[in-house]
């Protein structure tokens, strides 16, 4: 939503100028929020109002601004201040730290959209043939001499649109649902996934190993084989236990068919990793016919772009796992381009890591048996996330039925 800040000064109360400007904004279909208001204490003292204006589109905004300017509204004209990075990997002092909300910076009087918006980054500005380009850059990618925005002048952030009343998620008073009709919610998630694909946007799935431990892997596999997932983020564990199950029928040594521990079952995951390492990677294992089923097999067959990010407790890891965390972040950054919906299931670490990278405009569902995961995600700035507190096996089974029909 395009926004602008306007100020009104003068005898705006006695002249009804403030009332008039607000009425004009409302009739123009523009939302406003009075950010600051200082009332003159006497007749002769002037008043001052600072108003945030929000319009559904740029044209409506410009029309409304043009009209209110006639009544004395002044539109912020400040340009963003730019400073060079003093050395590689270091932002200039006072750098503007980004949010995950749509952001524009004013350069030479023009609002330039910030590309690849992501929270906790800097905004790098570079001249181009046709003007200027602004993009989010994480700290480790700053190069000495790059120009970054400092301060808050000339930066415009679009607040998140209010959730529509028609949305099934609207009735959830809290953003985290525990006592809610779960099947209805899964139906709504499925509908949102269909809408996202219909718009030509990608669907990202972020998953933890509990999906395999709880026996939910076949449901996810069905969803992937049916082509609903474009990108998968996970760690070494999800892929390892999925392959363990495909090769040995166990997850963490437990036979998933019977729910009983197998003799020497605790070794299965390490043997699975060793097998894949010997073959050179997951894709090679699929191509050689060693890996014949499971989530990772489905990903290779359905050409899902997967990024496996390593962690300090990993065994092995699988050759596909990126163990340098900054490299893993960058790989995830590349993979989220074009994503319109993120479904995060049964993982705290990868959900938060992904939430850090996603623009707030990406519809995000976070499914976990533990409400804390969802709360942690929103506490870390992914306010757009809808939390669904439920068992991941139930959720994926329902979702597979919604998306792929009765299995």
């Amino acid at each position: 939503m395009p926004t602008e800040i306007i100020t009104l000064d003068g005898h705006i109360i006695d002249s009804l100028t403030l009332s008039k400007v607000l009425d004009i904004l409302v009739s123009a279909g523009v939302d406003y929020e009075i950010r600051r208001f200082e009332i003159g204490r006497t007749h002769d003292e002037t008043s001052h109002a600072e108003i945030l204006v929000r319009a559904p589109d740029e044209e409506t905004l410009q029309r409304a601004l043009h009209e209110v300017q006639q009544h004395g509204a002044i539109i912020s004209q400040e340009n963003a201040e730019l400073q060079p990075a003093p050395q590689d990997g270091v932002f200039p002092d006072g750098f503007y730290s980004t949010t995950n909300l749509e952001t524009f910076v004013r350069i030479e009087g023009n609002w330039v959209p910030v590309e690849r918006i992501e929270m906790d980054c800097g905004i790098r500005v570079t001249p181009t043939d046709s003007g200027w380009r602004a993009e989010c850059v994480p700290l480790h990618r700053a190069r000495k001499g790059d120009l970054f925005v400092v301060g808050t002048a000339g930066v415009r952030v679009t607040p998140m649109p209010r959730r529509g009343a028609e949305s099934v998620f609207h009735f959830m008073g809290s953003e985290v649902s525990i006592e809610k009709p779960k099947t209805r919610i899964v139906q709504a998630v499925a509908r949102t996934i269909r809408d996202t694909k219909a718009r030509g946007q990608k669907v990202l799935f972020v998953g933890g190993p509990a999906i395999v431990h709880t026996g939910a892997a076949p449901f996810l596999e069905r969803i992937i084989r049916a082509g609903w997932i474009d990108v998968l983020f996970a760690g070494n564990a999800l892929a390892t236990h999925d392959i363990e199950y495909a090769l040995y029928g166990t997850s963490l040594g437990i036979a998933l068919d019977t729910g009983t521990p197998e003799t020497h079952g605790h070794e299965h995951h390490l043997r699975a990793i060793n097998t894949i390492r010997a073959l050179g990677g997951i894709r090679q294992a699929v191509e050689k016919g060693v890996l014949k089923g499971g989530i990772m097999h489905a990903c290779v067959v359905a050409r899902v772009h997967y990024v496996l990010a390593g962690s300090i407790r990993d065994d092995g890891p699988l050759p596909d796992v990126i163990t340098d965390v900054m490299q893993a972040q960058d790989a995830m950054r590349e993979a989220i381009q074009g994503v319109g919906l993120a479904l995060m299931v049964a993982t705290t670490l990868h959900s938060i890591a992904t939430g850090n990278l996603l623009p707030a405009s990406v519809t995000t569902f976070c499914v976990d048996a533990d409400a804390d995961t969802v709360i942690k995600l929103t506490d870390r700035g992914s306010h757009q996330a809808f939390g669904i507190v439920t068992d991941c096996a139930f959720f994926l089974k329902e979702l597979a039925e919604q998306l792929c029909g009765e299995g």
């Binding site: 003068g10 006695d14 002249s15 009804l16 008039k20 002769d44 002037t46 009544h71 004395g72």
Partner: protein, 262 residues
């Protein structure tokens, strides 16, 4: 004794069209115009001291001295910044006159059109300001700083009443005479909330009833306005009708032809 500024109509003419009244095919009778101006001048002179600024040949509208500027306090004037290039040529002439007569001349910012007493009128301790047609609202803010008083901003919405003084005059500090159709609903509310009011009907507004000069208990009003004359006279004022037909062709009348210096 009040002091007013007027400009003899030696170079008065209709050479361009910059308001809804001006039509090049409807030329004023210049001899009659001189006669009408003289009549007004004689009346004002009986009630006040009159200063004259020399007319300039390239300024056919300089006769409308109300648009020269606004006296913001004794010896200080806020000079007009005309909206139209056709009248901007008047600015240096008025400026010179004020400077030669010892005034401190304040200048409006470049992007802030302001047409003097045509658009800001005093009502006791507060001022009324018209905007949107000629003066822009930013000028009210600047003027209120120099004046040290509140300026109530009133939006003009009909092209025929393009200056505040074509649609409103202040009878006394509590009473305003105005034509409501010239203003938007917010402005009408502001006027009604702050003043006793007398309403002018459209037909008399078309005769420039609102473009009157009030000096003490006397109102110099363009002729042809019997209804508002009766209402004003009932309040104990004397209304003197002045023929103004040849100036109305340029969109001005009594008040436009005079500026209050004190």
């Amino acid at each position: 004794m009040p002091r007013l500024l007027m400009c003899p109509p030696d170079h008065y003419a209709l050479r361009y069209e910059i308001n809804a009244w001006m039509h090049l095919e409807n030329q004023p009778d210049l001899a009659l115009a001189r006669h009408q101006w003289q009549r007004l001048y004689e009346q004002v002179r009986q009630l006040a001291q009159v200063e004259l600024v020399s007319p300039a040949p390239e300024c056919p509208d300089m006769v409308f001295t109300a648009n020269a500027g606004l006296v913001v306090r004794e010896g200080e004037v806020l000079l007009s910044r005309f909206r139209h290039a056709e009248r901007r040529v008047e600015e240096p002439h008025f400026r010179r006159w004020f400077e030669e007569h010892g005034y401190i001349v304040h200048i409006m910012p470049d992007d802030c059109p302001f047409e003097g007493e045509g658009d800001i009128l005093r009502a006791g301790e507060r001022y009324l300001g018209g905007y949107r047609k000629r003066t822009q609202i930013c000028a009210h803010r600047v003027a209120s700083e120099y004046l040290g008083h509140e300026v109530l901003s009133l939006e003009l919405v009909d092209d025929r009443w393009y200056h505040l003084d074509t649609a409103l005059f202040v009878l006394d500090e509590r009473t305003v005479v105005y034509y409501p159709g010239a203003f938007d609903s917010y402005a009408r509310r502001v006027i009604e909330e702050h003043f006793d009011t007398l309403h002018v009907v459209e037909e008399e507004a078309m005769h420039f009833a609102c473009n009157s000069v009030v000096i003490g208990q006397t109102v110099l009003m363009p002729e042809g306005c019997p209804l508002i004359t009766a209402l004003i006279e009932r309040r104990g004022y004397r209304v003197i009708p002045i023929p103004m037909s040849e100036f109305i062709k340029s969109g001005g009348a009594c008040k436009c032809l005079a500026m209050f210096l004190e």
